[in-house]
C-alpha cells in the first residue's frame, strides 16, 4: 500500500493518506464520488481513510490539493484541501496559512515552532452551512517529543524519521484545546518535511 502519511488522534483510528498514483487513491475517490458526486480529483495530491473526529462528531475523509483553487487565493493559503463528512454529508474546504513565533497566538508546548494554522471554509454550493471556522488547527514542530506529550497530557505516536504535531483549538472559547494529533513518518516522503517547506515558503514570500 502506498501510504504517505499516518496521523494519530486518540478519538479515532489512525488515519492513512494515499498518493494519487496508487490504487487505493482511485478506489477511495470512487467512494467519495459515489456519495458526494463528481469531484476535481485530478487536482488532488492525496486522499485519506475516514477518521472519527469528536469535534464534528463525524467520520471525516481528508484530501490535500496539488494546487490552490483560484477561489481560495484571496485567503492567501499556503496549501489547501477538502474535508468530506461521511455521516452528515457536509463538505468543507480547508486552508493552511503560514504562521510563526512572532504572530501565532495559539497555545503550544515550550520550545515548539509554529508552522501553519488550518481552518475550514464554507464554499458556496457545497453541503454544510454551519460556520466551523472557529476551530483552528495549529501545526507545529517540536524536537522534544516528551515535552509535547507532557503538554498534551497523553501519549502520542512517534515516527522513526520525523514527527509533527497539530492541536485544534476553539478560538471562540478562549482557545480551549479540543484535540491533539501526531503525524508520524517512518521514512522520507512527500509530506514529511513541513519545517523545510515552511522555511522555503517564507524565503519565497520575503524575496
Amino acid at each position: 500500500m502506498d501510504i504517505i502519511e499516518k496521523m494519530y488522534s486518540k478519538d479515532g483510528e489512525p488515519r492513512s493518506a494515499f498518493a494519487r498514483d496508487s490504487l487505493e487513491f482511485s478506489e477511495r475517490v470512487e467512494g467519495i464520488v459515489s456519495q458526494f458526486g463528481e469531484q476535481p480529483s485530478d487536482t488532488w495530491k492525496s486522499i485519506s481513510t475516514p477518521q472519527w473526529n469528536n469535534i464534528y462528531q463525524d467520520e471525516v475523509v481528508s484530501v490535500v490539493n496539488r494546487m490552490i483553487p483560484l477561489y481560495l487565493k484571496e485567503l492567501s493559503p499556503s496549501a489547501t484541501g477538502r474535508k468530506f463528512f461521511l455521516g452528515s454529508g457536509r463538505v468543507y474546504d480547508k486552508i493552511y496559512i503560514m504562521t510563526d513565533e512572532a504572530t501565532c497566538s495559539l497555545p503550544r508546548p515550550n520550545g515548539s515552532i509554529p508552522l501553519f494554522i488550518g481552518s475550514l471554509v464554507n464554499v458556496f454550493g457545497q453541503p454544510g452551512t454551519e460556520d466551523l471556522s472557529r476551530y483552528k488547527c495549529l501545526y507545529f514542530k517540536c524536537d522534544n517529543h516528551n515535552t509535547v506529550e507532557e503538554w498534551a497530557g497523553e501519549t502520542l505516536k512517534e515516527g522513526l524519521y520525523q514527527t509533527f504535531y497539530s492541536a485544534t483549538f476553539d478560538d471562540e472559547n478562549q482557545n480551549n484545546r479540543l484535540r491533539i494529533k501526531s503525524y508520524a513518518y517512518d521514512t522520507v516522503g512527500p509530506f514529511t518535511d513541513w519545517d523545510k517547506i515552511h522555511t522555503m515558503m517564507k524565503e519565497m514570500n520575503d524575496a
Partner: protein, 85 residues
C-alpha cells in the same frame, strides 16, 4: 455571519425583459498537467505552491429567469458545464 467563498465572481447585473436578470460573470478552473517528478521528492513548486497546471478563466453572460435565485442558478449552470466541482 458565515463567510461563504464563491467559486465564481459576478461582475454586473442588468434587468432584461420580463424580469429576467442578465448576469456577467467570471469563473476559473485548473487544468492539471501530470507531474514529471514521481520519486516523492518534496518540492515547493509541486505540493505547496501550486503544482503543474494551467488555469483557464472565462468571462461570460447568462440570463437568469425571474423566479430563480441568481447565484444558485449560476452555480448549477457552471457545475453542469464542468467549471465547478
Amino acid at each position: 455571519m458565515t463567510n461563504i467563498i464563491k467559486p465564481f465572481n459576478i461582475l454586473r447585473e442588468v434587468i432584461e425583459e420580463d424580469g429576467v436578470t442578465g448576469v456577467t460573470f467570471e469563473v476559473s478552473k485548473i487544468n492539471t498537467i501530470e507531474e514529471l517528478d514521481v520519486d516523492n521528492k518534496v518540492t515547493v513548486g509541486d505540493y505547496w505552491a501550486g503544482g503543474s497546471s494551467t488555469r483557464t478563466k472565462m468571462t461570460s453572460y447568462l440570463s437568469v429567469p425571474a423566479d430563480e435565485d441568481i447565484e444558485t442558478y449560476l452555480y448549477k449552470y457552471l457545475k453542469g458545464e464542468g467549471w465547478i466541482s
